[in-house]
Structure formats: structure tokens, C-alpha cells
């Protein structure tokens, strides 16, 4: 079903507009407090925006004009199912009864509802759990059942609020694959922090910051050539923006000059972005001698352990180095070191 929402919540300074085409999955990414939860809650009917309008498959979910008659459909009449971070299975019902809850609420007779529920449990590979109580399930199993329960209610729109965030990293991939399967041909909005979710699940990405949409496009458009520091940060890329002056990319803040050879279609004086993965950047105390490496000197701000590597940060560039290298650099924090990379591994646009 096609879906559109335009909502304004004054006290949280949220003003968002969003369309979802039939069968499309839209990922909404943004920092905490950007308005993502407000968006989902308003669509589900849990909070009432100050003004706005929302339609799903031709029927009005809410219509709250600045003045005039307001329309407000309560949550249970919206056909919008919500999948939260936690599975929130009803603890007093078995897995099968949980999944049959939606069909039962729609007035379908118990036996038929249980059949439907069993079908959805098969769909998420949780048939064997049908007669267990939620307390007997692992986090990943519970979330799979929650997906089945949401889908069994036949929602016109499925809302997913960071469905993988509370799961163990070892379980998340299985659920992600399952979601990719069930979200095909289904209208859905997924709020996430994870770029991987956006790449694997979404047809389109919307970036929200400070209650406004700041960027949108396909995952590749938004993340491969990020247009903002925020998008670059999500995609895990260094983003350097400046202006082409001759064969040099001149950066204002922090002041730097990078000599490039391959400018593709960028003309003199045009604003230019350069994106590069931190893993492609190396750090050295002396200027690298290799002629094909682009080197800039920058003050090392700090070292940030990230599991099996360490991120070396400066105002201009970040680099991922091994813990051994980081140990050598530790004494140099606060002083200038050389960051270098092969220009061929960077994207200039």
C-alpha cells in the first residue's frame, strides 16, 4: 500500500515528510533525539502531532489541519504494526497464541487464527517453538516470533524500530536475512542506527537530523558519496570537502591542501568532496617516501579502540591501525603525524 505522512510536533521541533511507495522499504537513520521515534509513534497513533496528515492505502490515518476539523484514527484501526527493539511477546500467552493475537483481534475464529499463526511461524522458522512460553525463548527466537506476530496482523504498513539493536551480534545476521525476505514487496519503515540494515533491507534511505530530513536517496547514493559529515560518519567514511584550485583540493576547516591528479569531471573552483575509508589510511611519524601516496600532516587527537583495530583521529582524517601500531603512536597523541593514502582508493566527487 502507498503511504504518506507529513507531521509537525512543535515542542520536539519535529517537522517531517515521508512517502513510502507500495512494496517499498524506507530506512530512517539519524542520531538519538532526531525525531525518528516521534515519527514512528505518530504513524502508529501513539502520539498525536500538533498538525499534519497521514494516509495509508487511500484511507486517512490522521488529518490535523492548523484549523478546521481534525480526523484521528486510533492505533487499532490503522493497519500499522510496530516491531520494537524488544520482542515484547505477551508473557501469558504461548508463542502460537501470540502470533494468533492479530487475526483473533480482527474477528477471525480461533481455529482459523491458529492456522494462520502456524503459517507465519513456519515463515520465520519458528514452528518448533509454537507451544512454548515467551520466557523460554532466546532473544533471537523471541524477535523472530515478534516478526511473525506483526505480519500475521496483515498490516498495510510495517514499522520497525531498531529491531536488531537489542540482539546479540551473533544472532542479528539471521534475523536480518529473514527480514530481507519478508520485507520484499511490503511497505515498511525501519528506524536503525546501522548502515548495514539500510544497505540490506531498504530501497531508500532518509537521514533525519534535528527533526528535519537532511538527505535522502538510495543507500548507495546516500552512503557511497556522502553529502554530509553525518552521512559519512554513518557510512564509516572520512569526508573531506573543499574547492578545486588548480590540481589542489583546498580545504578551509581545518586548513589543508591535497594534491590530486584524477579530477574526473570536476572543474576549477567547484566544491569537491573526497571520501575514503579509514582502513585505507595509514599513519606514520615521518613523511612517507612513496610518490604515489597522498600525505597530509595533521595533529593526532586521540586513539579509539574498536575491537581488533584502533581508530586514530585527527580533525581532517581518521585512520584504522593495528593495536601494535597504536601502541607506538600512543605517546604522540596531541602532536602532528602524517596521514597518507593511495588516491586511487578514494572517491572524488
Amino acid at each position: 500500500m502507498s503511504f504518506s505522512v507529513d507531521l509537525h510536533v512543535i515542542d520536539r521541533d519535529v517537522h517531517l515528510q515521508l512517502q513510502v511507495a507500495p512494496g517499498e522499504t524506507v530506512a530512517v537513520l539519524g542520531p538519538n533525539g532526531a525525531g525518528k521515534s516521534t515519527l514512528l509513534n505518530a504513524i502508529a497513533g501513539l502520539i498525536r502531532p500538533d498538525s499534519g496528515r497521514c494516509e495509508l492505502g487511500g484511507s486517512i490515518l490522521f488529518d490535523l489541519p492548523e484549523r478546521g476539523t481534525a480526523t484521528w484514527r486510533p492505533p487499532h484501526q490503522r493497519g500499522v504494526a510496530l516491531l520494537a527493539q524488544e520482542a515484547l511477546l505477551f508473557p501469558h500467552l504461548t508463542v502460537l497464541e501470540n502470533v494468533a493475537f492479530g487475526p483473533r483481534s480482527a474477528g477471525i475464529p480461533a481455529s482459523q487464527a491458529r492456522e494462520t499463526a502456524a503459517g507465519w511461524l513456519r515463515e520465520v522458522d519458528a514452528e518448533a517453538l509454537a507451544h512454548r512460553k515467551p520466557a523460554e525463548l532466546s532473544g533471537g527466537q523471541a524477535q523472530r516470533v515478534a516478526v511473525a506476530r506483526a505480519l500475521a496482523a496483515h498490516p498495510g504498513l510495517l514499522l520497525l524500530d531498531e529491531p536488531m539493536a537489542a540482539l546479540d551480534v551473533s544472532v542479528a545476521p539471521v534475523l536480518r536475512r529473514m527480514l530481507r525476505r519478508v520485507l520484499t514487496d511490503r511497505s515498511a519503515v525501519i528506524v536503525t542506527h546501522d548502515v548495514l540494515d539500510a544497505y540490506t533491507l531498504a530501497d531508500r534511505v532518509v537521514l533525519v537530523e534535528g527533526g528535519r530530513i537532511v538527505d535522502e536517496g538510495t543507500p548507495a547514493e546516500v552512503f557511497d558519496r556522502p553529502r554530509s559529515a553525518f552521512a559519512a560518519g554513518l557510512a564509516g567514511l572520512n569526508l573531506i570537502t573543499g574547492i578545486r584550485r588548480g590540481d589542489t583540493l583546498v580545504v578551509d576547516e581545518p586548513a589543508a591542501a591535497l594534491a590530486l591528479t584524477d579530477w574526473s569531471t570536476i572543474v576549477e573552483g567547484a566544491p569537491t568532496s573526497l571520501a575514503i575509508r579509514p582502513s585505507a589510511v595509514t599513519v606514520s611519524l615521518e613523511k612517507p617516501v612513496a610518490a604515489d601516496r597522498l600525505a597530509v600532516q595533521a595533529k593526532m587527537i586521540d586513539l579509539e579502540p574498536r575491537g581488533d583495530f584502533v581508530r586514530v583521529r585527527s580533525a581532517l582524517l581518521s585512520a584504522d591501525v593495528s593495536p601494535q601500531e597504536a601502541a607506538h603512536l600512543d605517546a604522540m597523541v596531541g602532536s602532528a603525524v602524517w596521514f597518507s593514502f593511495d588516491p586511487r582508493s578514494a572517491t572524488v566527487y
Partner: protein, 272 residues
């Protein structure tokens, strides 16, 4: 919950001593009473006509009062826990007032509400109903003092459970009534049961409001506590025997409430 003996408890010795004194303070009077029971005459004493009448009346009225507490107390707790309106805090304290009010004062207040010359008395008189000094008055007095027990325990449970499950239920298409029936009430069932048992116990022990508002007519308004109080003057043996009956009933209630409360707790799955 099995406690490993010898594990560190962290309770200082002096706290244990004070706790023991407190426990003795509660238990000793019971022991003293049991020691005074005239066992030879026990059965005839508690099966005398007036005793049986009082006992049956007490059970009947307390059950009726408990039913009324559930019928009105559950909605009250829901409204207090789930909605937000102006003056709610004040209303909550007022509704819970019978908890701290001397029962005699409650009885007087009821008399001026439902009594013949009371606020609603005229209305009832037109309908041909005379409430004061009837069995209905006993039930009203008991409901008045017992209602806050159910409201209080249930409201707390509703707040603890939170609205997360209810929200999910609504987004799955369940109407508010369906959510209440299939999610909210099953989740707080232990609290409803223990609240009802507390209310029943409070109703069973009701004395002051009943005496003031309903009087003490044998078979009509003379409940067990009233009977005990009356017999105390003339026939202490009967009073003690009936008191023991009340104690036994109270112990049974507490045990049953504890059992059902635990068995009905949906979070205590088979795995735990």
C-alpha cells in the same frame, strides 16, 4: 529462590534481635488467645444459633463487598494508572481516604449519605429502599473501607507492568476492550486476586463503620466482629472461640492468596 545456607546475608545481629522482638509482639497475643480457648465447649460455642448466624452473615456480606470492590475497584485502578487528567493526584488521595479514616467516621459519613435523612436517602426512600440498618448497609460499609486496598495494590501492579504490551496489542488491531481482556487483566491477575483477598479480609474484620451505619441486629447486620464484641461482656468463652475462628479464616486467606498469587503470575514460566 532456595537460599544457600551459610551464604552472606548482610543483616546485622542487632537488626535480627529487633525483628525477633517485633515478630514476638505479633505472635504472642495470638498464642495468649489460643491458650484461653475452652476446648471442651469449643464446638457447641461456635455452632450456637447466634454464632452461626453471625458467621454466615459475615461471609455473605464480605463476599458481596469483595465482588463490589472488584467491579468498581478494577476500573478505578485502571483510570488512575492509565489516564492523565487535571486533579488526578487529589482524586487519588481522596479515593484512598477510607484507608486512613477511622472506620467510625466512615460509618457516620455513610449514614449522612445513604441514611434516611442523608444526601441520597430521599432518593432511595422514593424507590422504596431503606438502606441504613439493613444487610445492604453492612455490604456498603464493608465496601467503603475495603475498596482502597484493591485499588492501591492493582494500581501499583498496573504501573509496574507498564503500557508496552498494551501498545503492541493495539497496533496488532485489538480494540481497547480486547486489550483489557486479553492483555492487561491477565498480566495483573495476581494483583487483582491478592487485592480481592485483602479486600475480603478487610471486609470480614470490619467493625466501626458497620456498627455506626448498619447497627447490630442479629441475622441482619450483626457480623462476626460485632458478635465477638457483644459476647465479650457476657460470655468471654464464646468471644474467644469465635475470635479463633476469625484467626483461622484469616490464616487460610493469606495462604490461599499467596498460593494463587504465585501460581497465576504469568511471568513465572515453566522454565523458571
Amino acid at each position: 529462590m532456595a537460599r544457600v545456607s551459610g551464604s552472606y546475608s548482610g543483616v546485622p545481629r542487632w537488626v535480627m534481635i529487633l525483628a525477633a522482638v517485633g515478630a514476638a509482639f505479633v505472635l504472642l497475643p495470638l498464642v495468649a488467645m489460643v491458650l484461653r480457648v475452652n476446648w471442651a465447649e469449643f464446638v457447641p460455642l461456635i455452632t450456637s444459633e447466634s454464632s452461626v448466624a453471625a458467621l454466615l452473615l459475615s461471609l455473605r456480606t464480605s463476599l458481596a463487598a469483595t465482588a463490589l470492590c472488584v467491579i468498581f475497584g478494577v476500573p478505578m485502578a485502571l483510570v488512575l494508572a492509565r489516564t492523565d487528567f487535571w486533579g488526578q493526584k487529589v482524586l487519588r488521595s481522596l479515593v484512598l481516604l477510607p484507608l486512613v479514616l477511622p472506620p467510625v467516621v466512615g460509618g457516620i459519613a455513610l449514614l449522612y449519605t445513604f441514611g434516611r435523612r442523608g444526601l441520597l436517602g430521599q432518593t432511595f426512600e422514593v424507590l422504596g429502599v431503606d438502606i441504613a440498618f439493613s444487610t445492604t448497609a453492612v455490604v456498603i460499609a464493608q465496601t467503603f473501607v475495603a475498596l482502597p486496598f484493591l485499588v492501591l495494590s492493582l494500581e501499583g501492579a498496573l504501573r509496574t507492568v507498564g503500557t508496552r504490551y498494551e501498545v503492541i496489542g493495539a497496533t496488532l488491531g485489538a480494540s481497547p476492550t480486547t486489550v483489557l481482556r486479553r492483555i492487561t487483566l491477565p498480566l495483573v491477575l495476581p494483583a487483582v486476586l491478592s487485592g480481592a483477598v485483602l479486600s475480603f479480609a478487610r471486609a470480614l474484620g470490619e467493625f466501626g463503620a458497620t456498627l455506626t451505619f448498619a447497627g447490630s441486629l442479629q441475622g441482619t447486620t450483626r457480623t462476626l466482629p460485632l458478635e465477638i464484641y457483644l459476647q465479650r461482656e457476657t460470655d468471654p468463652d464464646t468471644a474467644v472461640a469465635l475470635s479463633l475462628v476469625l484467626v483461622v479464616v484469616a490464616v487460610l486467606i493469606v495462604t490461599v492468596a499467596h498460593r494463587t498469587g504465585r501460581a497465576a503470575d504469568p511471568r513465572a514460566g515453566a522454565a523458571s
